[in-house]
């Protein structure tokens, strides 16, 4: 389990996170939702220790973050971090050389799942395919937790569907997934838990099936209520 406890972060005078708490379980998809600029990416960066927090605590499986924690987690940013002149195959080889936890078998499976070709150059990929390669490079690692920043942002509907399909497949298996998004509409059925952020705090966090069952509301209904206030 990833536990985020009362974390705060200030950039200059701007208090971006004002005490954010939530948990994300293994085997579940937790979705951080919020309109742009509410600090979703800052939270991801905080978990990955890319942005040091001012106060609060982050625990992975009950332990404070340390170097070894990052053998358990991977972060898939919203932009590809490989060199544009590389081919997909080069990028996969790079991951293989660089990470002990690289799972070539799963990566190959993802390649065919997404109908991508190894000899395609990163610079020639469409936006949708770039997002898929990005996901492939992250999912190819044998880690317990996957953090994905806006995996559905700015890509065509078919790529979105294909990426959504990954979540229901064995390729994600029983890992814990945290995704950030501002477009929840087409993935409501895929997620377990929803954490709605606004103005640096968690305004509401709930189980998606629970809110349908107990209140007869969709996730978007709840979001609408929250942002109307």
């Amino acid at each position: 389990m990833i536990e985020v406890k009362e974390i705060t972060k200030k950039f200059g005078l701007k208090q971006v996170l004002k005490g954010v708490s939530f948990t994300a379980n293994k085997g579940e998809i937790t979705c951080l939702i919020g309109i742009n600029g509410v600090g979703k990416t800052t939270i991801m960066n905080a978990i990955m220790n890319l942005t040091p927090i001012n106060s609060g605590e982050i625990l992975i499986d009950g332990e404070k973050l340390r170097k070894e924690s990052y053998e358990k987690i991977t972060f898939i940013p919203d932009a590809i971090t490989m060199l544009p002149q590389m081919t997909i195959g080069d990028a996969m080889q790079f991951m293989k050389d660089f990470y002990k936890s690289w799972n070539q078998k799963r990566a190959a499976e993802l390649l065919s799942f997404f109908k991508l070709k190894e000899d395609e150059r990163i610079s020639n990929l469409s936006k949708g395919n770039t997002a898929k390669v990005n996901l492939l490079l992250g999912l190819g690692l044998d880690v317990d937790y996957l953090l994905m920043d806006e995996p559905f942002s700015g890509i065509d509907i078919f790529s979105r569907e294909q990426i959504a399909d990954v979540f229901t497949s064995h390729l994600v298996e029983d890992r814990g997934v945290i995704i950030t998004t501002h477009e929840i509409n087409d993935i409501e059925h895929l997620i377990d838990k929803v954490v709605i952020l606004d103005n640096g705090v968690v305004v509401k966090s709930f189980n998606a099936e629970g809110v349908r069952e107990n209140e007869g509301k969709s996730v978007v209904d709840v979001m609408r209520e929250v942002y109307k206030q």
Partner: protein
């Protein structure tokens, strides 16, 4: 197996309903093997935990059964299958009655119309 889910009912309830419809219409037969939880999640594009929940509830309701590590199967209990059919019929009739009652149509007229429409293949 394509199912359109609405966004305001629990997905697991909608999955169970889908199975009940398949059982009532005979598309799923007594004793027939059903997909694994993961396969179902993938086919219906739903969260694997939700598929798990649906199967757990169906198991408790006696709609499906699992022996050891074998794939789950549709119940062989004819009584349970009969009940599923009755339940779906009653549900459909109830929702029809709820819709027609506020219009204040005499029962005979409604029955006449039903007879007429029911045999009409287009339902128009």
């Amino acid at each position: 197996m394509a199912v359109t889910f609405n966004k305001r009912d629990p997905v697991y309830v909608q999955v169970i309903r889908h199975f009940k419809e398949q059982i009532a219409t005979g598309n799923l037969e007594a004793g027939q093997e059903i997909p694994s939880r993961r396969e179902l999640a993938n086919k219906l594009k739903i969260n694997p935990n939700t598929a798990q929940r649906a199967y757990k509830e169906m198991e408790e309701e006696g709609l499906i059964f699992t022996e050891g590590n074998n794939p789950s199967k549709i119940t062989k209990d004819e009584k349970v299958i009969g009940n599923v059919r009755d339940e779906l019929i009653l549900e459909a009739v109830n929702s029809f009655v709820d819709a027609i009652r506020p219009i204040n149509v005499p029962l005979d007229e409604v029955v006449g119309l039903i007879k007429e429409k029911y045999t009409d293949k287009d339902g128009k």
